[in-house]
């Protein structure tokens, strides 16, 4: 059966189309586009993506409003059933606000919006999302965010590191994130949130194709499962 991936669109999402294009390029089948205002996801999903953007204009806090929108309860339920969920940039902010991932994304330490391609170290290639990378591999993936400064208390950070749940780390300081964390996994390993945009790095003409392996990892994981 064809791989069924869904991309959620919130009001103010702006990377939803890029995400859908990236998924289609890697999967060979179009992703299902889902509007945030409905309460149910399509049946039989293999993958859910929460895209980047500025949902609700970042009102209150980045991702705070989107995390309480009707579709999110269905996303939480799907995540708890083990469906892979990827949140990129604003999607990562939504995942933390929805408590699917620990910590919070605060204003960048420099106060500046950061928009450039950065080197990331793959910290753990044992996850559903990173199996096509090598541990320790440095990949180049763009970031574009104002609120990407990952914060969690020391106990949470120690737990994330101890359990191998730091998926990606900035190879050089980027936005002030605690321990240079760029992407983290939930305890079950089926939810990944990351500030860098793998969907913007899927072919060389875009400047990097290093993001493609993330999507290939997910597809490969399901085929071998």
């Amino acid at each position: 059966m064809a791989f069924r991936a869904a991309v959620i669109t919130f009001p103010g999402s702006n990377c939803d189309r890029d995400m859908a294009v990236a998924l289609e390029k890697v999967l060979g089948v179009p992703a299902i586009r889902v509007w945030h205002g409905i309460a149910d996801l399509p049946d039989g999903l293999d993958f859910i993506a929460l895209p980047g953007g500025f949902s609700y204009g970042d009102y209150l806090r980045s991702g705070a409003m989107a995390a309480r929108s009707p579709i999110m309860q269905a996303v939480v339920n799907a995540a708890e059933r083990g469906v892979p969920v990827l949140g990129v940039c604003n999607g990562f902010q939504v995942l933390t606000e929805a408590s699917l991932l620990p910590g919070a994304l605060m204003r960048n330490g420099s106060q500046n919006f950061i928009c450039r391609t950065v080197p990331l170290t793959v910290e753990n290639n044992q996850s559903l999302f990173t199996s096509a990378y090598e541990t320790g591999e440095v990949v180049r993936i763009p970031v574009a965010h104002h609120d990407g400064n990952f914060f969690a208390d020391d106990a949470t950070l120690d737990r994330l590191e101890g359990e191998g749940r730091v998926a990606f780390r900035y190879a050089e300081p980027c936005n002030g994130s605690c321990r240079d964390i760029a992407g983290i996994l939930n305890a079950q390993g089926n939810v990944l949130g990351m500030m860098p945009h793998p969907e913007r790095a899927i072919e060389d003409v875009l400047g990097s194709s290093d993001g493609r392996a993330l999507f290939e990892s997910v597809v490969g994981g399901l085929i071998t499962a």
Partner: protein, 82 residues
């Protein structure tokens, strides 16, 4: 019933905005500014009889992010809004 919620970053959480404002105040020549922290004030008009528990739940579920923020609830006297 008027309620004012003050949402502040928890002590120890770095506040880059506060730090930038601190530097700007010094740049304007104000001396003696030792620290600046920026928070958010949310004023709500609530139906009479709204319970304290309900207000706390609003704060914990949405108005504040308990990972990084604390909140304080202040019920405003009618006089202030007369």
């Amino acid at each position: 019933m008027k309620v004012r919620v003050l949402v502040r970053l928890k002590p120890g959480v770095l506040d880059p905005q506060g730090r930038a404002v601190h530097h700007a105040l010094e740049g304007l020549g104000f001396s003696g500014v030792e620290d600046v922290r920026i928070g958010r004030v949310i004023e709500m008009d609530l139906a009479g009889g709204t319970s304290n528990e309900a207000i706390d739940e609003m704060c914990r579920k949405l108005l504040a992010n308990m990972v990084i923020e604390d909140y304080a609830v202040e019920k405003l006297g009618e006089a202030e809004h007369a």
